[in-house]
């Protein structure tokens, strides 16, 4: 899958969960500090990404997600 496409989908899903404009997201911002991501919303994001990209994200990987680029990187690594 193209990187741009992954970025677009991940941003879209995150924006839907957080009620934000996907075009205004900073992919390197801290999701918890900058956007107020809660553990429940993080769980939703991970669940949706797993289903959308048909991957499994384990506990350690989930714990290391701090910014959207971490999610995007994880998807790219698991999709290759």
């Amino acid at each position: 899958m193209e990187t741009a496409n992954v970025e677009e989908i991940v941003s879209q899903r995150f924006a839907e969960i957080m009620n934000l404009n996907p075009e205004e997201l900073n992919l390197d911002a801290d999701l918890f500090a900058e956007y107020g991501l809660t553990s429940v919303n993080a769980l939703k994001l991970i669940s949706q990404v797993e289903v959308e990209f048909d991957i499994d994200i384990d506990e350690d990987e989930a714990r290391n997600i701090h910014k959207l680029n971490d999610v995007i990187e994880l998807i790219k690594n698991k999709s290759t």
């Binding site: 429940v40 919303n41 769980l43 939703k44 991970i46 669940s47 289903v51 959308e52 506990e59």
Partner: protein, 546 residues
């Protein structure tokens, strides 16, 4: 026709993941993980089905498929068939899995409406997962309303059954397993103990499901006849059955007068309600096992008021009524020094099976609210929400200590009063001796049931003495074997053969437990389809007419 898919959360349960702790699959075995959680090889085993899903499915104006413990792939396969509604039943432990199952439904069945139900909905966070509907409390009426049906039309009870055997016998298909039918009388509990998630979940009131004693009897009788008489023992879900005197009395009269089958039931009841019950009457009416919440020697709950606890347990046992005693560690008054005394007290009651648990401040309870206010909830992980969790901060216990003393109590009880199956056996034998010559037909019928069980279990103890916990228990077992022989005659050739077989299985299983790595026992997928309500009613009526 509306299509509904009802499902439990997905497996696996045994592997540590972001969805569950390692070993969670053991908690699915209701007996081995809780009521007969004991060292050694005599522990019992029973995987209890998702009863509530079947109750809902049988009572909807829809074509409904029930999935129990599907894998993710099996769940996806069902989603691809395009259900109109997907109902997911969960405990708090399953929160992470629900999140994934909602995402899967949105992806593979985008037109389906998602309903989340079960005790997990006590978590406020469920709303943040954005299911279309949340069914808090009783689910049958909720789903009927959702599908546009009248919620109070009489309910029918589908057959729901669990198998029981020794844990080490699970993989030996040639050994018979006991079948137990599951009957739901009602939900909720008016006693409102502060820790009780059931009581809180249903709003501190009793919500009826089966309307009266006749409906209860009919549901049991149908399961019994459908199984050619093999299913005659039942577990009735009602938090304090003996509060419902008319229901118990009407059901008991029908059971006592039944010329064909000796139906019997296990139930939950309080000391308070049992103290007001006519024991001989309810025993003649099939009452054969009761779970009593002992909670603590100090009896801090109103439900424990009434008869002396020890006197009640002793009298029940004398009639062959087996018991489950449950106790909670970590109540406010507890100190580590008090726990051995609590365990000794439980031993003195000699319950047939026993549950020890750490105090679990379940979401939605008064206890949880209070402890949150007092800052006494440890950093919470959904996966930790079980009987042996360490969620509570207790001023008298170090972190991890409550779990440690809870698990140790099971070992001490086993050393003091032996395996659960032995306690069941001796209680049935005592009941047989007391009721065998009773003038009341219903009580003599109970004696016959007890005699059959005592004889059937005898081979289990004939050559397995080496696997008992200590010499004192070995002496007691040998004494009981002598008494059984005196009452029923010496063991037959067939019984000696079974005893020999059991000895070999015990030796083999002990060697395996020493030398082989423990393997997960994951449940497999179970699927059951239900037609619309009226078809199910017709099936029930054809039984009643017959």
């Amino acid at each position: 026709m509306t299509k509904v898919l009802l499902t439990s959360v997905f497996r696996p349960f045994g592997e540590a993941s972001r969805f569950n702790k390692a070993g969670d699959e053991e908690l699915l075995d209701y007996l081995a993980s809780r009521l007969t959680r004991e060292p050694g090889l005599f522990a019992l085993s029973s995987f209890v089905p998702a009863s509530s899903l079947h109750l809902i499915a049988a009572n909807l104006p829809a074509e409904t498929r029930v999935l129990e413990t599907p894998s993710v792939e099996e769940f996806i396969d069902e989603l691809k068939k395009g259900p109109d509604y997907v109902g997911i039943s969960t405990l708090i432990k399953g929160f992470g899995k629900v999140s994934k199952m909602i995402a899967l439904t949105r992806h593979y069945a985008p037109k389906a409406k998602v309903v989340v139900g079960g005790f997990g909905t006590a978590l406020d966070e469920i709303e943040q997962l954005k299911p279309d509907y949340i069914s808090k409390g009783e689910g049958v009426r909720f789903m009927r309303k959702l599908l546009g049906a009248e919620p109070e039309v009489p309910f029918i009870h589908p057959p729901v059954q669990a198998q029981m055997t020794l844990r080490i016998f699970r993989d030996y298909d040639f050994l018979d397993k006991e079948t137990m039918g599951l009957i739901t009388s009602g939900f909720g509990c008016p006693h409102a103990c502060d820790f009780c998630s059931t009581s809180a979940y249903f709003g501190y009131r009793a919500i009826p499901f089966l309307s009266d004693g006749k409906a209860m009897y009919d549901a049991m009788k149908k399961q019994c006849r459908d199984s050619n008489g093999k299913t005659h023992n039942f577990l009735i879900f009602e938090e304090d059955l003996m509060l419902f005197k008319n229901k118990v009395s009407d059901m008991g009269e029908l059971i006592e007068k039944d010329p064909q089958d000796s139906l019997g039931y296990a139930c939950f009841a309080t000391v308070k309600a049992l103290s007001r019950s006519d024991l001989e009457k309810i025993i003649a009416g099939g009452f054969q096992h009761v779970w009593i919440g002992v909670e603590s020697m100090a009896v801090p709950y109103k439900k424990g008021e009434g008869r002396d606890m020890k006197g009640l347990f002793d009298e029940l046992h004398s009639y062959g009524v087996t018991t489950t005693g449950s106790m909670i560690f970590g109540l406010d008054h507890h100190t580590p020094e008090m726990i051995p005394g609590e365990t000794e007290y439980m031993s003195s009651l000699r319950p047939s099976t026993c549950q020890f648990g750490s105090l679990l401040p379940a979401t939605g309870t008064e206890l949880r609210k209070r402890l949150e206010e007092e800052g006494r909830i440890r950093n919470f992980d959904y996966r930790e929400s079980d009987l042996f969790s360490d969620v509570l901060i207790h001023p008298n216990f170090k972190e991890g200590q409550l779990k440690e003393v809870t698990l140790k109590a099971y070992e001490e009880l086993y050393e003091a009063i032996g395996p659960s199956i032995y306690r069941l056996w001796t209680t049935w034998f005592a009941g047989y001796k007391k009721l065998n010559a009773n003038p009341r037909l219903g009580l003599r019928k109970r004696a016959e049931v007890y005699a059959s069980r005592v004889k059937r279990l005898r081979p289990l103890f004939m050559q397995t003495g080496a696997f008992l916990p200590n010499d004192e228990i070995r002496r007691q077992v040998n004494e009981t074997l002598r008494e059984v022989a005196s009452e029923f005659g010496p063991a037959t050739v067939s019984e000696h053969g079974r005893a020999e077989l059991f000895k070999h299985i015990f030796a083999l299983e002990e060697a395996k437990s020493r030398h082989l790595e423990k393997k997960f026992v994951e449940p497999s997928l179970k699927i059951r389809d239900y037609g619309p309500y009226m078809e199910n009613v017709a099936a029930m009526h054809s039984f009643s007419a017959a």
